[in-house]
């Protein structure tokens, strides 16, 4: 516990190894308690899903015309969350933003788990999930293939690609760290880590290929990140529904995704920093940088909201205008205004540096942003459908215990994965932290030993 107390002195390479390995020690009661709570919620969610499969989609509150509701809302929400990780690891890597190093591992893990959570929702949502494999292209005796014109098939491709590439990226990034774990552990753990480390030694040849491959992966992942949420946004933009049919959607969704992704990163990192005493690695300047990013993306999002309102007014399209007016004033207006408050107003506090460096303020803003971003998707999906072209069928969606439980259960699923992860894998990148540390020099100012 040496380094942390001596804030004035940056950690050494050995400190890094020790501090990271410390996070993998046997969990305490607090951790087990959390696992239990999250596990119970997850169990309830799974039971709700089972019930829904058995009874039919009617168990969820969907109806004509609101045939998509909380499941797709949560799907888009989780995909959005999944954006921060790859953004931090790929785009910021290419931009050589050094502050990313202490947070990117947690963010990447979050990405993968968020995408895994998101990936469940199309299944939960499908009326006959047992035939969901129809969406995959595979050889079959009937010669039937999916309809590649459907944005849902694009989703299948985009999301599975995103999950694969993120996982590859994540695993590649983990290899040297797992090697460090291997060298520091004993017994069966050592054997498992040894297997996962693929015999990494950190030789110059390995590093050479590794760095090249990592750079290329980052280069591939960058357009991918931007494309995935664009594709998801096209689920809506390609449809005819007023409130969905907009060319604005791709950048709008990508920005929102980054916005919510960073909020989620903060929601995960701040407690980690607190409980694992990682103040030396996750410093105020890191928080400050993320605060700035949230503020920026929040302002961009506000601009998009204004554009959205402006275009539907300026289009002169009767359906668009009616839809907008209805959203702003009628049954779901509370959700819309809640969203505006969370996404447009609450991040403004981050204009102050003191707010950006205060973990409490950041945490509160992040939670608000997450709520706001969930409702953003809700506001795009539900009210647009509830008040679309055909007045005969207009109707309000009312959630049921089943779909509410499933959505809450999805958060439990995400957190259980994340809580599991931080106990078995280094949640800080040992290698990259070392890279940013002052090098151990015998003759330099900082050298010691």
């Amino acid at each position: 516990m040496s380094v942390v107390t001596e804030r004035h002195r940056p950690p050494t390479f050995a400190d890094v190894n020790r501090d990271v390995l410390r996070t993998l020690a046997t969990p305490g009661n607090l951790y087990f308690g959390w696992m239990c709570v999250v596990g119970l919620i997850l169990t309830a969610g799974i039971l709700a899903w089972t019930y829904q499969i058995y009874i039919g989609m009617g168990a969820a509150g969907k109806r004509t015309p609101v045939m998509w509701a909380m499941y797709i809302t949560s799907f888009v929400f989780w995909i959005g969350i999944g954006h921060a990780g790859t953004l931090i690891s790929a785009i910021l890597y290419l931009f050589r933003a050094r502050w990313r190093t202490s947070i990117f591992r947690a963010a990447e893990a979050m990405t993968i788990f968020a995408v895994m959570t998101a990936g469940l929702f199309p299944l939960i949502h499908a009326g006959r999930m047992w035939f969901a494999y129809f969406l995959l292209p595979y050889w079959n005796q009937r010669d039937l293939w999916p309809n590649f014109r459907s944005p849902l098939v694009w989703d299948v491709f985009a999301i599975s690609t995103y999950l694969s590439i993120s996982t590859v990226f994540f695993i590649v990034g983990l290899i040297p760290d797992v090697a460090a774990l291997r060298d520091a552990s004993t017994g069966w753990r050592r054997r498992i880590y040894a297997m996962l480390a693929l015999g990494w030694e950190g030789s110059d040849a390995q590093w050479r290929h590794y760095r090249r491959a990592y750079g290329l992966l980052a280069a591939l992942a960058t357009p991918l990140v931007l494309s995935v949420h664009s594709v998801v946004s096209w689920d809506f933009a390609m449809a005819l529904v007023p409130g969905w049919h907009s060319t604005l959607f791709a950048p709008f969704f990508v920005d929102g995704a980054i916005f919510s992704g960073f909020a989620m990163v903060l929601v995960l990192i701040l407690p980690m920093r607190h409980f694992f005493n990682l103040h030396a690695y996750i410093q105020e300047k890191h928080l400050d940088a993320m605060g700035k990013l949230i503020l920026t993306t929040g302002l961009v999002l506000t601009y998009f909201y204004i554009c959205e309102i402006f275009t539907s007014w300026y289009s002169g399209d009767h359906f668009e205008r009616a839809s907008l007016f209805w959203k702003v004033t009628k049954s779901y207006a509370w959700a819309l205004w809640l969203m505006y408050f969370c996404n447009c107003i609450s991040p403004l506090i981050l204009f102050w540096k003191r707010a950006r460096t205060s973990p409490v303020v950041l945490y509160v803003v992040s939670v608000l942003v997450l709520i706001g971003m969930w409702f953003e998707r809700f506001n795009i999906i539900v009210p647009s459908l509830a008040h679309d072209f055909y007045p005969y069928t207009w109707g309000i969606y009312v959630p049921t215990p089943t779909d509410t439980m499933i959505v809450i259960g999805s958060f439990a699923w995400f957190f259980i994965l994340f809580l599991g992860f931080i106990r078995v894998m280094p949640s800080l990148s040992i290698v990259e932290v070392k890279e940013t540390l002052p090098q151990p020099l015998k003759d330099g100012a900082h050298g010691h030993h």
């Binding site: 009874i55 499908a126 035939f131 072209f389």
Partner: protein, 967 residues
């Protein structure tokens, strides 16, 4: 139950096997024991019969597949309905397959009905009647049936004579006795004539709901649209006077809202105005001597200008037709009112042209309500020991509450009901002898003079049942101690009697019986008899009303969905919305907005409606159009026991007849449906109605379009100015064979919902129940929307049947990830259920919202599952479904054409909705053929597409409604 399983059931039923035995293992196939000549498994056999859901007596052909009737259609040869059928006729199947049908005869033992054998049951009846006969009290036996005028009626009358009982009572709750009485007075004919709506130039209806239930709704709706529908520049005018905006009122060019009970005064005032304008003969002055148009205007709430305007319009018509009916002319002043209407007719030259005595309606044979009331009084006095109540007759439900039928029935020693499903009367009966459903029985019925419909069993009985005629014959022989072939009632069965009775009718015709069976009966032209009108003074006054003088006038009107309640067992009808309110399942009390505001009642509040004779509690429907002095409740809403699965909570009585007094119109003996004032009290609870239409305001979206008559005429002559073509980035679509399309003439649609139920019957569309329907989960593939424009209290109503538009550029198709939705080579929007994963993307992206998702696995409670159309898949939970344009009929039509080595022509393929439409608003056919009807209509100047600006290019073309401005 899967749709094709009944291949097995049927085939077991070479003999009359009960459907209960249908639980076969899924892998067994059972051949017939003895081949049945008429039935080929997999090929439909059609049997003609007569619909007995109301006394209109439409001809029906029943589609029999593997021994079970799966669909009813109107008999195209029948002169009454010409192939069309109303929603009640379509839903009659659900009566035959009613899940609560009695499994056999029942006897009340210890308060509950228990099964007994036919022999025991018959012995009981015969014993009781025999006893009375021995005691010389034969007159203590009473037989009450629905209106019968064929062989069964003759047989029953012979029966009553042979046994010396009281004369038979033909009980029809809506008997139109006052029309008969008025005709007696004015035209000296005790009859209800045939009204030739199609010949009239102007129709003036004073409360006659001829599109809903009045006399013969299918026939008159059809004739009305022939007169009223826009055809090559010609279109008649229709003025309707009623305090409530009924479906018929909504179809009027001008709906005049009057104070309840002032129809007679209005008729006289119109006549007065006609005379003043010189549009009617001076001899009619005598009749309207005391009438002052201004005073009538004051009393009726109809302005003097309106009265004069109507007089001008109607007076110029040669001929016109004035009809009176409905609740508003069934008060204590009903006869004078209808006399006044008769005089209007006489003044415009209607008799002999639009009003034809000769082909008189069967309704003329109904026992007047006054006599029914006498019977009930006799029962109450204990003069009746045996009461036999025929099938489809439910006096405990349909007789006014003031008559206290239930109390009277408790004084009867033996109440026998022939109903085959439980109702309010079987609840009082000591013995139930279930009659066969009319689809399972022999019979005949003459809806009007000259038209005799012949009934034959279209399938074997679904449950153990005997025709009432057989039971009566057997009982009588047991009483009289005679044998078969001897005595006054020698026939072995009613079937034998029927065939004997028909012999003289068919004399001289080779194979006459077969021909009559095939045609569905015999008909010949009956020329109209000349009549002269007798003009005398008319004492038109307001009706006498019971109850709190400060209360609201109760308008208890027959529901076009349930008639008097006999059709209410069909879940299809419960879920077919009332077109005006778009409410399903539960009944409601329609309260004028003014009254609701005053009493603080909001829509869905449960309101207690009380009269001196009873009280019922119903949810409120707040109406902007109802006359403020009235409240309206539909008659006929009741639930069958199996409806419990569809409606949560225990059902409450919904019958407004229970609030009515026992009184009658003294001149005719007609029941006074307009007879009581009621008071409303809020109960404080809420029970929101299941209303399917979110709003009647189309918010300038031009879904239901209309054009005024002069523009329509001009365009019909000169053609419509060409509109811009929609541009496309893609090459035009190629159709190698046919291209199917549909046109729907909004001007022809009267909103009767027949197509909705026909579609449900044809396509195995499930019923979902009140809560689900209220939550937007109804499964109908076709719906009729009511769009209202203009002032809410006097709106212009347009009915828009909405179904899958089969768009050429369908928004639903490209979004489907698995090609479950795609465009077929024949221009349909295909939906492959077994490929569907249930993402519901198509449902979102369909701007018309005609796609229906299976939120649950919908059940078809046995034996309703036997009705399922074997040609249509029963959809599993989690799949999307929608209108297929009856693809199974298209396949069958092409198959037939190919057998004959030709291509499909107009008429080869009729969709279920098109087939049953009384006004022929729907046309289906090949759009590639320039000569087909559908092509011609699709190029009409009135043609438009719903939400055309979206560029979906639908295959369904609508023709605009033609409005008459201010008539």
């Amino acid at each position: 139950m899967k749709r094709r399983d009944f291949f097995k059931i049927v085939t077991t039923s070479g003999a009359a096997a009960a459907v209960a035995g249908c639980q076969q293992s899924a892998e067994r196939i059972l051949p017939l024991v003895v081949p049945n000549e008429q039935i080929v498994p997999g090929v439909a056999a059609w049997f003609s019969t007569v619909c007995r859901e109301c006394p209109a007596g439409c001809g029906v052909i029943a589609r029999n597949r593997e021994g079970r009737v799966v669909k009813l259609e109107g008999n195209p040869d029948h002169p009454v309905n010409r192939g069309a059928l109303c929603l009640r006729g379509q839903a009659a199947l659900q009566g035959a397959y009613h899940p609560d049908r009695f499994a056999g005869p029942q006897q009340r033992q210890g308060g509950a009905l228990r099964a007994v054998s036919w022999d025991e049951a018959l012995k009981l009846v015969a014993g009781k009647i025999g006893e009375l006969r021995q005691a010389g009290r034969s007159k203590a036996v009473a037989l009450v049936t629905q209106l019968e005028n064929g062989s069964l009626a003759v047989l029953m009358d012979r029966w009553t004579q042979a046994l010396g009982t009281r004369p038979r009572v033909s009980l029809e709750p809506f008997g139109y006795e006052a029309i008969r009485a008025a005709n007696r007075i004015v035209f000296n004919r005790d009859a209800i004539p045939h009204y030739a709506f199609e010949e009239a130039e102007v129709i003036l209806s004073l409360g006659a709901d001829f599109i809903e239930t009045w006399l013969s709704n299918v026939s008159y709706a059809r004739a009305f649209k022939r007169m009223h529908g826009f055809r090559e520049g010609r279109a008649g005018t229709f003025i309707h006077v009623e305090p409530r905006q009924s479906l018929t009122a909504a179809n009027a060019d001008e709906w005049v809202r009057n104070a309840p009970g002032t129809e007679g005064l209005l008729a006289l005032a119109i006549l007065r105005a006609m005379i003043d304008e010189g549009l009617a003969d001076r001899r009619f002055s005598e009749a309207v001597a005391g009438i002052d148009v201004k005073k009538v205007a004051e009393e009726s709430g109809v302005s003097a200008e309106t009265i004069k305007h109507i007089a001008t319009l109607f007076g110029r018509a040669r001929p016109g037709l004035a009809v009176g009916g409905g609740v508003a002319v069934t008060g204590t002043n009903a006869t004078p009112t209808l006399v006044a209407i008769n005089l209007l007719n006489a003044a415009t030259g209607a008799p002999g042209r639009t009003i034809r005595f000769g082909p008189d309606s069967a309704y003329g044979k109904v026992t007047p309500y006054g006599e029914v009331a006498q019977l009930v009084q006799a029962m109450a006095k204990g003069e009746i020991d045996v009461l036999l109540v025929g099938p489809r007759t439910n006096p405990a439900f349909t007789l006014p509450g003031g008559l206290k039928f239930a109390d009277a029935a408790r004084k009867v020693g033996l109440v026998v009901s022939f109903a085959n499903q439980p109702d309010e009367t079987t609840a009082l009966a000591h013995l139930v002898l279930p009659d066969t459903h009319w689809l399972e029985t022999w019979g005949d019925y003459a809806p009007r003079e000259g038209v005799i419909g012949l009934m034959q069993p279209t399938m074997s009985p679904v449950r153990d049942a005997l025709p009432m005629g057989d039971v009566l014959l057997r009982a009588a022989r047991a009483v009289l101690g005679t044998e078969e072939g001897k005595g006054p009632l020698p026939w072995a069965s009613f079937e034998q009697y029927l065939k004997t009775a028909w012999e003289p009718l068919l004399r001289g015709q080779l194979d006459g019986w077969q021909a009559a069976l095939q045609q569905g009966g015999v008909w010949r032209e009956t020329p109209p008899a000349p009549v002269t009108a007798k003009i005398g003074a008319v004492q038109a006054s307001r009706p006498k009303l019971d109850g709190d003088p400060g209360g609201l006038v109760l308008l208890a009107y027959p529901s076009f969905r349930f008639y008097d309640g006999r059709a209410a067992g069909a879940a299809w009808l419960q879920e077919a919305p009332d077109t005006m309110t778009q409410a399903v399942w539960e009944a409601w009390v329609e309260i004028a907005r003014e009254t609701a505001t005053k009493l603080g009642i909001a829509q869905g509040d449960v309101v207690r409606v009380s009269s001196p004779h009873g009280a019922i509690e119903l949810p409120a429907y707040v109406s902007a159009s109802l006359h403020p002095s009235a409240v309206a409740i539909p008659i006929g809403h009741r639930y069958a026991p199996y409806h419990a699965r569809y409606v949560a909570g225990s059902p409450t009585p919904m019958n407004p007849v229970a609030l009515l007094p026992a009184g009658a119109d003294p001149a005719s003996g007609a029941a006074a449906y307009l007879g009581v004032r009621v008071t409303l009290t809020k109960t404080g609870t809420r029970r929101p109605l299941a209303i399917l239409q979110a709003t009647h305001d189309q918010d300038d979206r031009e879904l239901a379009q209309h054009v005024d008559l002069s523009t329509a005429r001009e365009q019909a002559l000169r053609g419509k100015p060409k509109e811009h073509e929609f541009l496309s980035m893609y090459p035009p679509q190629h159709y190698p064979g046919y291209r199917w399309g549909m046109t729907i003439d909004v001007d022809q649609c009267v909103g009767c919902q027949a197509c909705v139920v026909a579609c449900q019957a044809e396509n195995n569309v499930p019923v979902v129940g009140k809560a689900q329907a209220a939550y937007g989960r109804q499964q109908h593939w076709l719906r009729i929307e009511r769009w209202a424009e203009g002032r809410p209290e006097r709106p212009l109503n347009v009915f828009l049947p909405m179904l899958c538009q089969h768009c050429e550029v369908a928004p639903c198709e490209p979004v489907c990830p698995v090609f479950a939705a795609y465009r077929t080579e024949e221009g349909l929007n295909g939906q492959v259920y077994n490929r569907c994963v249930g993402t519901r993307y198509c449902g979102n992206n369909c701007p018309y919202h005609v796609r229906r998702f299976n939120w649950y696995d919908q059940e078809f409670p046995a034996p309703l599952d036997v009705q399922l159309n074997p040609d249509v898949t029963v959809r599993q939970l989690g799949v999307m479904e929608k209108c297929t344009m009856c693809i199974q009929r298209i396949v069958a039509g092409k198959d037939r054409a190919r057998d004959e080595k030709r291509s499909v022509r107009d008429g080869d393929i009729l969709t279920a909705c098109q087939q049953t439409c009384p006004t022929q608003a729907i046309t289906f056919g090949n759009l590639k053929d320039d000569q087909s009807e559908v092509s011609k209509l699709a190029h009409s100047p009135r043609a438009y597409h719903v939400l055309e600006e979206l560029g979906t290019r639908p295959s369904v073309t609508y023709l605009k409604k033609v409005t008459r401005g201010h008539a």
